[in-house]
Symmetry: C2
Subunit: 84 residues, 2 copies
Amino acid sequence: MARVVVDVMLKPEILDPQGQAVANALPRLGVTDVSSVRIGRRIEIDFTGEPDLNRAREIADKLLANPVIEDFEIRVEGASAEVA
Amino acid sequence: MARVVVDVMLKPEILDPQGQAVANALPRLGVTDVSSVRIGRRIEIDFTGEPDLNRAREIADKLLANPVIEDFEIRVEGASAEVA
């Protein structure tokens, strides 16, 4: 069994109100050295056999990410990332 | 500037209907060798100075994860993960 991880994040130019809300709450915890918080999704896909990056990319593109506002990265767990 | 990444996933024993919905849709894409899909959150925290893992863990524990149903991992980007 092999695991492919897909990280989906909003494109940098897209506002992230959820992350902004966390960033705004940090001074109340006494944290003042954080410049930015961005919140995205992490998807773990377990393959029964060999991990198939092309298939994982197709899954991410059709089911997991909205390419208009989101970027995604795909990697086999333990390996380095490959930008979509 | 340094970036800390927090990965928040549902605990393995907690049902993930969102991931299950993706898994159920895969045969329609012709993908039959996926055994499981789990969907969690990836949070990127940018520190202005040195990344502070203890502070990031406090942020994750208080603002980002629900420790009753979720586990989280914290790492400095480019470094190996540290389980919470």
